[in-house]
Amino acid sequence: MNDPRIELSTDAPIITLHPPQKNTCIDVCAEFTGIQDCQTRCVRDVADKKHACREACQTAFGTACDRAFPASGEGGSTNFKICLSYLQTSCEDTCKKFRG
């Protein structure tokens, strides 16, 4: 009689299942004259929250500036530049609670 059992190879990969890691996500929205952009960034380590906030803010702020002052508009590039000149201070302020 054939043995129905199958012997598993000992060099088969072993997969260990870990419980899924909890991600922390941060949304940052920037809005100028009713034109808005929001960005989400997630991290696995809560110590990285400040980076998630800053990256999201930098992108949201830049995109909102672009939408509010498009290059095709009158004085678009000048106003875009002025708008962006406030990015760093505003994002620092927005993300200061995650400083560490």
Binding site: N23, C25, I26, D27, V28, C29, A30, E31, F32, T33, G34, I35, Q36, C38, T40, R41, C42, V43, R44, D45, D48, H51, C53, R54, E55, C57, Q58, T59, A60, F61, G62, T63, A64, C65, D66, R67, A68, F69, P70, G73, E74, G75, S77, N79, F80, K81, I82, C83, L84, S85, Y86, L87, Q88, T89, S90, C91, E92, D93, T94, C95
Partner: protein
């Protein structure tokens, strides 16, 4: 004050829009802080503690806050993408601040990556021995060098990432907020 539709109660012809008007427009924009399962931060303009740079300051503004000087050194820029000629945005502006602070770029940051930024990038790459990227392109090798120098997450490390599911949740939440406040975020100037 904003009108009921979230806009200023007056219209300004485009050719009259100068720096002052833009500041006024932005000063009156919506700034609300909301909180839900995910943390939502609103980048407002300008905050009550905001320090105007001298060139844009209303009369009588004082400049004693050191942040006015500290801001603009480009020391905490995030580069989730490569930058090259034609790129524009907040990351480009921050990068230009960095190049400017380090003496590689003499022009004022514009947020647009043009020929001068490419030339400054080539010089920075040469001085830092970066040859992996095309000369004048702020690619992965350059981004990695910048991040490691400034103690920021390295590109490709995956410490900070986008999450499609939270994008969905956020968008739905913002829709509800907008409906409840009778606002529209899709209007353009």
């Amino acid at each position: 004050m904003l009108g009921s539709d979230g806009w200023l109660p007056f219209k300004i012809p485009a050719f009259f829009v100068n720096q002052t008007v833009i500041l006024e427009l932005i000063r009156h924009t919506l700034s609300a802080t909301v909180s839900i399962a995910a943390e939502i931060r609103i980048a407002s303009w300008p905050s009550k503690n905001f320090i105007f740079p001298p060139s844009l300051a209303p009369l009588g503004t004082r400049f004693s806050d050191p942040r006015a000087v500290m801001a603009g050194r480009g020391e905490a820029c995030y580069f989730p993408r490569d930058l090259n000629k034609g790129s524009y945005g907040g990351d480009v502006h921050c990068y230009q601040q960095y190049l400017s602070h380090k003496g590689y770029l003499l022009d004022e940051p514009t947020g647009y990556f043009g020929e001068r930024t490419a030339t400054a990038t080539r010089r920075w790459q040469r001085d830092n021995g970066i040859s992996g990227d095309d000369a004048g392109e702020f690619g992965e090798w350059s981004r990695e060098r910048y991040a490691s120098t400034h103690g920021l997450p390295l590109p490709g490390e995956g410490r900070v990432f986008k999450d499609a599911k939270s994008d969905e949740v956020r968008n739905r939440f913002l829709e509800i907020i907008h409906h409840s406040h009778g606002m529209s975020s899709s209007r353009r100037q």
